[in-house]
Symmetry: C2
Subunit: 373 residues, 2 copies
DNA sequence: TTGTACGCGTTATCAT
DNA sequence: ATGATAACGCGTACAA
């Protein structure tokens, strides 16, 4: 801190931030020379470069990003949009991890990450227009894809670089490859893997809870996985065991209560997400059931939460590291005009078998907890 | 999507984004007139303004943020830095909620939010220099304050606007008349409130786990709260009951095991954070104890997680809405040169009493079983 | 009320 | 290898 410590931050000018011109003056060369020397641009004599860099370092010179952006017509900023920024709900948990990965990857490639959220009475499309049209970012990462998502048409038409976490029906229905890249965790496959795990344990009355908006591709896909798994196992669909609903802990609790009150309750419950599974387990516990013995529970996402629950939760882990890395790399490649822009990355969630499906549990054990650890 | 679906995004030019000059040309006026009309700047005839705005809307004109920033010497961007973006650990959970609040508040004030993370072999100070010195953002929100935090001197000296979530040592600040705003949740008060809750339930052997780096003000403060509460209650300090350590679920599990293995185990355990408390509860459960009856557990933070655990977790809820709102408003006020720059906001965490401290439980109820192991 | 001219800090093109 | 000069798109004194 400087010695004039009585002055407030706004009462005194900030330390002047030197410009290219200032560096040039002190180094006795032209601005353009400094610009080049600092970027190893074209051939600059070694000694000139050294002197310039020395002066720049001495002055703590940092190029003005906005001037650079204006000149380059590129911002080196990635935008990240998620409805989680509007209202907080339980399902946000894994976003933080994803965001951390994305930020690290972006920074490593010298990109900034911008968080996007619609303004008051502004819809998604208007927000994209504001961010991309206003040159706040070069491209955007989209979440929460819908089966038929109007945002894609929009971004396509305007030529705005983007990458999807998720996909729409375009690819599948029209057998027409979406000309923009997407990264997806195969939700259908994941649910099927979880279902096969339950089936292999001998369960036949398997319920599914959660997912209230079938228009979200992710919801559609997980539901499809559930139905397909039953079909493959030649188990008749039972509408009473399929209960869509908001993906919250409270709803998991409520729906599980409803399921367990049936005269022929399910022996296993597949929850749309881990947080919801927590609610299911809470209901089961209150009903006097021991999860992992009297009732099997499977979640989805692989949140840290699943390891903290009692019993620990069997779940499908989303490979967030790979997701984040792919999203950033595909978007940057696209921005820089590389040709792999229509790459599609489909990752498989990994089945983590834990105690809630009674993995390690042994019938002769005491009704106490699964003593796996 | 356009009809030429065979073309990749990079094979075709983006839709041209109109400039001020373009709008001016189409409206038959000068650039400056457009500039003013679009910002209700100075007096512009109603009809001119109407025509200009109509043309701008027709062309989907959005001002180039970088040109505007260059001209205004202000970016309207807030930077957010947290070590959570470097590596993911359990303690990140509440950041997502905070980030959501911050983003909403910032956007409402027409500011963008930028996520910051040091580059490879770059330290914190260098990162600030890059972000603030490079005009990526006008100011920054700092997390994870240390008792004697070198970052403050640095930011002060350079005159970079900033606001702290947390604070440094009173005396150090006072001696230097630290003129920047901070927002803090009173950790010491929170722990004392939790301790008083436990004391009122009759507990005297109360352990505290977690907090491995006393240089973090937050750690120092919570530890102080613990010690002060014991002192106020005339309970002798017992080093065996005070176990600092990393704030993770695994460490909570480990330390609780150690505590419960003592010949005179504690009857209550205060965990540094909710996630850590989850580990404590897991250990207790495995040891055959019923949390809320045989052992009381208190957490800190008020994460959603606490409501999902069995039993539900008594905790100190951090008022993240208010924290986020204050941070953004104080930072923006500072950036815009308003005088409330040295405002200090101290918020109180709220004690949420849930089942883990045995709401209904009564000391004479059962043989304080931890001793009966 | 509107137009003119210049500056913001950088990069790029053209000379030298 | 280096210097002069012109954009980039917008805001804003100043002039009309």
């Amino acid at each position: 801190m400087s010695d004039d410590s009585t002055k407030g931050p706004s009462s005194e000018q900030s330390v002047a931030r030197p410009t290219l011109a200032e560096v040039a003056r002190r180094a006795g060369v032209d601005k353009s020379t400094v610009s080049r020397a600092l970027r190893d641009d074209s051939a600059i004599s070694a000694e000139t470069r050294a002197r310039v860099q020395q002066v720049a370092a001495y002055l703590h010179y940092v190029p003005n990003a906005n001037a650079r952006r204006l000149s380059n017509a590129q911002t080196n900023v990635l935008a990240f949009a998620s409805r989680a920024f509007r209202r907080n709900d339980d399902s946000d948990q894994f976003l933080m991890e994803l965001l951390a990965v994305i930020t690290r990857e972006a920074v490593a490639a010298h990109f900034d990450v911008l968080l996007c959220c619609p303004e008051e009475d502004e819809n998604d499309l208007q927000m994209y227009e504001r961010i991309l049209g206003g040159h706040h970012a070069d491209g955007i990462i989209l979440m929460d894809l819908r089966r038929n998502d109007p945002r894609l048409d929009y971004l396509c038409a305007r030529g705005y670089p983007h990458v999807l976490f998720g996909r729409s029906d375009e690819d599948i229905r029209r057998a027409r490859r979406y000309p923009y890249p997407w990264v997806e965790v195969d939700n259908r496959f994941g649910v099927r893997a979880g279902m096969e795990h339950l089936l292999s344990l001998g369960h036949t009355r398997i319920a599914f809870v959660g997912g209230d908006f079938a228009e979200y591709f992710c919801v559609f896909d997980r539901h499809t996985g559930y139905h397909e798994a039953l079909q493959s196992a030649h188990i008749a669909q039972n509408p009473e065991l399929f209960l869509p609903g908001p993906v919250t802990e409270a709803e998991g609790y409520r729906l599980a209560q409803r399921l367990l009150a049936q005269h022929q309750p399910p022996t296993a419950i597949f929850a749309f997400g881990d947080v919801m599974a927590a609610g299911v387990m809470r209901a089961a516990h209150e009903a006097g059931l021991v999860v992992g013995r009297d009732l099997a529970v499977v979640g989805f996402d692989g949140l840290g939460l699943g390891r903290f629950l009692t019993p620990t939760l069997t779940t499908l882990r989303q490979p967030l590291q790979e997701v984040g890395r792919s999203l950033v790399q595909l978007l940057i490649a696209q921005i820089q005009g590389n040709t792999m822009s229509d790459a599609h990355v489909l990752l498989c969630p990994e089945l983590e078998i834990r105690a809630s499906t009674g993995g390690v549990w042994n019938p002769s054990d005491s009704p106490a907890s699964p003593t796996s650890r």
